[in-house]
Symmetry: D2
Subunit: 387 residues, 4 copies
């Protein structure tokens, strides 16, 4: 079959896109009528896609208002969500009403790091260990080389992991408002070339070898953070839960224990319910890298029954990758959604992280409640053991 047409001189024009739709139409019979109905200048997507052919139109709605007590996001927000899954927006909206009536969601960014993790190979493990000590001793010089490649990225520290005759270095950077994967890749590469020029025992090295870990979930990222580590918290009065969710704090807590046990058995990347829904919907709406849902949806839920019978609920997102600059954040609709959150432009990335964290929490409570109200059944006792 023939190749898809490209225009080497300028490929980002309506004409080039038209030609490609025509080509696909001829080859496959698909009309691509709606795909061709975009509202922006194709020149604006240079850097975001190759062979621009049109758009996928993803339905967009807003949930809220969401009441947030962050350090950066403070007050009420209408949260844009792009999705094709019915009930998603309604469910998050219901959760937002619940937490608003409970006094709002407290949310904090508690860690921040983006990494690239090269691996170095030596004749044996002892030489690999000695290299590790050399790296620690030369951190300042390594940092200088890495940071010379970027005006924004700062090398925070280098973790080291050892196995066999290898030493994996995990370079942790802060990256401003960008997600920063490319930034830290370039910076780490520069640092590695300097290291290799200085240290003679290295047999070979590779810039990345799955200890970053990019676009995938890992225990390591759960422990040590990738992107932003965000904790959202809320105390839900028992009376409010009974009124709004037709359940109770005690029932939600019991259900959580059983879900924790299920997660432990199944070995999930998430002991919560469906954070991926909220993360994906806001990611797509606001121009985040949609593939990062793989790691950004990882979550740890911890809840407690308080002494007076209310429900403390927290969700920790250990590897939430967000940006308000670069990537898809400047695209036509995506930028408008960021504007609706007051998160467009520089200095806003933690605000966005807080809003997403709070949004995710609302979705967890809403689904948990729905399951209990309609579907939790007991033939003997309703609220758990011995009642």
């Amino acid at each position: 079959m023939p190749k898809i047409p490209r225009h080497p001189d300028n490929d980002y024009t309506p004409k080039a896109a038209d030609e490609r739709r025509d080509f696909i139409r001829r080859q496959t019979g698909a009309e691509l009528h709606h795909v061709g109905r975009y509202s922006f200048d194709p020149a604006t997507v240079a850097g975001n896609i190759e062979g621009f052919t049109g758009v996928c139109q993803m339905p967009l709605g807003f949930a809220g208002p969401l009441l947030v007590h962050g350090e950066h996001a403070r007050g009420e927000f209408y949260v844009p969500m792009a999705t094709t899954e019915g009930t998603l927006v309604a469910s998050y909206n219901r959760g937002m009403r619940l937490t608003r009536e409970a006094g709002g969601v407290t949310v904090s960014v508690i860690d921040d790091a983006m990494q690239r993790a090269p691996a170095f190979c030596f004749a044996d493990a002892r030489k690999a260990r000695d290299f590790g000590e050399w790296v620690s001793a030369h951190f300042d010089e390594i940092k200088r080389r890495a940071e010379a490649t970027t005006s924004v990225g700062k090398l925070r520290d280098i973790e080291q992991y050892a196995v066999g005759r290898f030493r994996y270095l995990r370079f942790n950077f802060t990256t401003g408002d960008a997600a920063g994967q490319n930034m830290v890749g370039r910076a780490t590469d520069a640092a590695c070339h300097w290291i290799v020029s200085q240290y003679s025992d290295i047999e070979s090295w590779v810039l990345a070898a799955n200890m970053d870990t990019d676009k995938k979930y890992s225990r390591l990222n759960t422990l040590n953070t990738r992107g932003k580590r965000v904790v959202a918290e809320c105390v839900l009065p028992d009376a409010l839960l009974r009124e709004r969710l037709h359940t109770s704090a005690a029932e939600l807590f019991t259900q959580r224990q059983i879900s924790n046990l299920g997660s432990l058995m199944a070995a999930t990347n998430n002991n919560g319910a469906h954070s991926a829904n909220g993360v994906a919907a806001v990611f797509i709406a606001t121009g985040q890298d949609e593939a990062n849902v793989a790691e950004s949806s990882s979550a740890i839920v911890h809840s407690e029954l308080t002494a007076n019978g209310d429900y403390y609920y927290s969700i920790t997102l250990p590897s939430l990758i967000v940006a308000t600059y670069g990537g898809g954040t400047g695209l036509a609709t995506q930028r408008e959604c960021l504007e609706a959150l007051g998160c467009q432009g520089r200095g806003k990335v933690r605000k966005l992280a807080e809003i997403i964290g709070a949004t995710v929490l609302c979705g967890e409570l809403s689904l948990g409640g729905a399951m209990l109200a309609g579907e939790w059944v007991s033939s003997h006792e309703r609220y758990g053991r011995n009642r």
Copy 2:
């Protein structure tokens, strides 16, 4: 802050969407100009979103042709990819050229199951065990109750997992061309209500408790499949790798060993490189549930150096959730993309699964090669130990 306006009688109209954009504009200052530029009748998104307000326009391109040797997908395909990440389409396109020149990608759907996993609680572990035996003995009756709720879903088997005084049942269904989460939820719920009506020792139960595991990665799904289990395979001649990727079979194999080791250390859900990129881009283009990237991007890569020095590469996607019916598959642009793949409508879901599997494989090879050609450096020896 005020509530977002809804029209209880008919909320899926251009007017309702206009009012909501106006509302968001007044509340936040965001123009939402581009968000309002959709090309379809809002009535068509009822069932896909609540409070429809407009669209996110995600750039769309095509990669290919991709040469596939599946049982359902046979021949060459142009693969629609919606993304905001520069280089993604180009990289997959390069991988498709490579595998085309290598003779194409063999791909097979080797398992198929969608599940809902209720948990049942008893006075003690012994009673929970006895219940498990009762369930096994009454499988036919349970199956009849479950299948009475659906014309498509078939209950294949029920796995059982035991911990403490709980018994988790994992109902495995086949679900035709639908992803089937809702279908199996309803069917399992019906079965559970019958079970509870028959078996008197159940203290309480819940329809889902994180052993499904929906919208999250789990070891259990990696072992036992969720959605489709797809294996894509290709043998790449060493000479071709040298010509097209400027690397070699031996180098790629060595790099893979180091990546496997990194994955093992970091405990990733994926020992490959970036399957989430390909999965997310095709998912969004074709109306799949974007949140399922969390579990669908999980992968297991296995490669070998063949006796004559070529490179056998395989990637297993153990929990690829796809549909050609229901969900977002009928939306305007999404349906057009499915048509371009010849995957629109019933009886096409395995074909789509095969195309996605083959696509993912191409992206892995392309990124692996890029990393080696530019960035793999050895100060002593180029190809590994003792050379």
Copy 3:
């Protein structure tokens, strides 16, 4: 250096052992005085060790009485524990008093399986899948071949796992009073040879490839059981906890939540405290394979606060490997310890599993209480949030 002397004709004599101790003494200077002080005929350890040279004398004590409500172990037991760790026996003893005063430990063997898991390799994944279907269709014949090698072992079922061009089969057997690793190895090998003689597409196969998983912890064994799956349970009255452990049900429950969270973060094979202590001490005393501590100490703790404020505690041991026949169970001191439990000889293996399960539970409670009574401190509130 010279080789250790062996006597090809009869190596299990006092003289052969003497010569080896003399040899080691000459080579290393170590006297091996105490090592030579064994009380049994060396002929009795043929089959248990090669190059018998003497003994390690491990201190032995008894804890109890332990009140057990099993299906096989009923009543009170004095539990032999061999250890070198001070406080271990005392701690388990304290826990046994506690549970005795609480009415005893309920314990149940809820699953039973020993496995060998060969891997088969094919030209591609599709052929591997087809082989899997053939195996399912020929289960009865495979079972006949496997069981022809043993008078005790019964093939229960064969699990299948698929990745790349491989099919892993996991043969699950029951093995009577033996642990059965060798028995199932021989039976599976026979079955595999028959399979290979019948099915022509197999490129290669190997009898074991880490899906058994022998002498190591795995998620798979936690899910699907290896050896005995044992659940021990107890309800501890709050008043008793206050009197005996100087803590309370609420404090223990709160501590458990924090330990669960820590386990989740650290990704442990055990969310409990120190089951390995009890398992190892009873294993050594009773002649179990001491290396199996690796998998047998895996545990899942689940606890609850009951409606009246008492503490329900359960521990599930998903892969407890025990025997009352074969291995070290017939050795001089080991057999005496089994006799003290009434577990010597055939038909006793589940009784032993129950006693070990109950013992482990007692140790968990004792350590949990010790930590809280002495070391749990609160500067603001003692019992948790908002109190």
Copy 4:
């Protein structure tokens, strides 16, 4: 049933042990004849066991000579192994011969840390984060308080992990020749009491909460080391493998790939074969804490085919807990076994760690070879794909 007799004044006498054996005999009918045949003064086991009643006599043999190229262990060693599993000593012995003929095992201790990990609870996540910063700023003072409790232990660093409203601190110490669990517990407790006296926002804390992680396997310990991190390495000539193991480097490498894949699927704590065997046998012989087999047997195997067709094999033990001082190391037979290794007394702990690491490697090769020689079968091609 009556309580086991104790002598409050002096419980470590032959008379007290006699009385307890009499007691058990009367209660259970077990003679405990051999249990009573110990050769040491019971006073020497005070601190190692409570209610000393006799001994378990575990058969002891020696394997070797083992040729080790460590930094501390250099030369040939006869390794004491206590076991009840037939073939174990023979198998390790065979592996030692193999590696001796290959030039010996290179082994290195590449990290060293023993930890206690308290958890601190705050009103919310933000306060927990701020506490973490305070801890970093006050490291020197915390270190001073911790080290005041011990003449040996040194606080190396404090890792921090955050989830919900908790902050887990992981105190890493070096502990001289002792394993050090008690030493670091006491030191961390002292440090925590000082912290709590200084920092007013702490709601509650607990000294340990499963992030240490003591007596259990964890991903965290695999990444960050517990006890000694030991790597053993060897290059096995292909010709030697053919002669001694009746297999080849290529076959062993292929088998390893399949085992790695199986481990990945099953999610084991060890992608090797049976390190628990070697670890347990030497642990028991030399007075190590036998319960630590749970974490000490964790391993990561990495092997390579070298350019000239030989076999590079490495095994990393990330959490090997060993001591040459304290615990059971001073007991009668255990001390003799340490003497036979030249590891008795102070300054010898790394030497012992190296010997155990090298021993474990030998067992892996021996078992791998045995499996291939007898049991690896191919109906089409012997050495793998396309040959």
